[in-house]
Amino acid sequence: MTVADALLLALGAVAVGSGTLVVTSTQIVRAGLYLVISLGAMAGLYLVLGAELVAWVQVLVYVGAVVVLLLFAVMLTRAPIGPSADLDRPAWPALVVGGGVGLGLAALFVDAFRWVRYGMPAPGTTERMGAELFGNWVLPFEVLSILLLSALVGAIILSRPDIGAPKPTPGPQPQQPTPGAQQPTPGPQRPNVSAQQPDPSPQRVEEPEREKQKDGS
């Protein structure tokens, strides 16, 4: 039992404990903050395991960006602040499948690796990681850049406001294949905006809340 073992055990306990709270908490915002703790503990595990660059990328991308995105989504969907009872399904199937997967994999690893000691890894250097990335894995790296770009474009297209229109009027559709489709001319968009107005129920939801706020103030 060395210092590295103690660190691995402590950080692993923190990661698993806060991960448990992520999937059991009844408050959405708290679940997101427990996710921060879990991801931070996993960054510490990476540091102990010698993968320094991965640890800091984890902090930057996960804790810095992904969790902030999730919290933005929590805000934008007007999630309830307090505890909410309708977050969960019945527990038994999830408990059986999740527990089976987790404990089964854990038993597999315990059986495979036993209590074998391994030498401590040398602290990772970014230079060697860069040589590995741009030496052996250049093609996946470039493919990933294309994937990020397409994910960006896909997210923008998915967020267009005229997708939610219930029944787009058949009039402007034949006009869209014309060159006007590439330029955002106001012509084809106006019917979509007008068609969207009767549809979205969030706007109807907003109005009573604002009235309540006015009443409260």
Partner: protein, 103 residues
């Protein structure tokens, strides 16, 4: 160090992620559970670097998985927000896949 500790940690975290995906109704919480699973896989890859002793391949793939997770979260949140704008709900139980105007 004993490599079985991070391996078991990764296995338990993956199980927790599976549990969360199956248990939660709120789509944002489902995404959080998916993040837990992806991180468990990352931990597995980084630990494999130590035990297999062949350099930095696991770390490189962990970086790739992080990039994939970022793309997945971006598109997933765009879908969730669009769905919320259309139906004013984020409960994935209510998603009907059999028709455009259903639900």
């Amino acid at each position: 160090m004993h490599a079985v500790i991070p391996y078991v940690t990764a296995a338990l975290l993956f199980g927790l992620g599976v549990y969360g995906v199956l248990r939660r109704r709120n789509a944002i919480l489902v995404l959080m559970a998916v993040e837990l699973m992806l991180n468990a896989v990352n931990l597995l890859l980084v630990t494999a670097d130590v035990t297999l002793d062949n350099g930095y391949r696991g770390g490189a793939f962990a970086l790739f998985v992080i990039v994939l997770a970022a793309a997945e979260v971006g598109v997933g949140l765009a879908i969730i927000l669009q769905y919320y704008r259309m139906r004013a709900a984020v409960h994935i139980d209510d998603v009907r896949l059999d028709g455009e105007n259903a639900g």
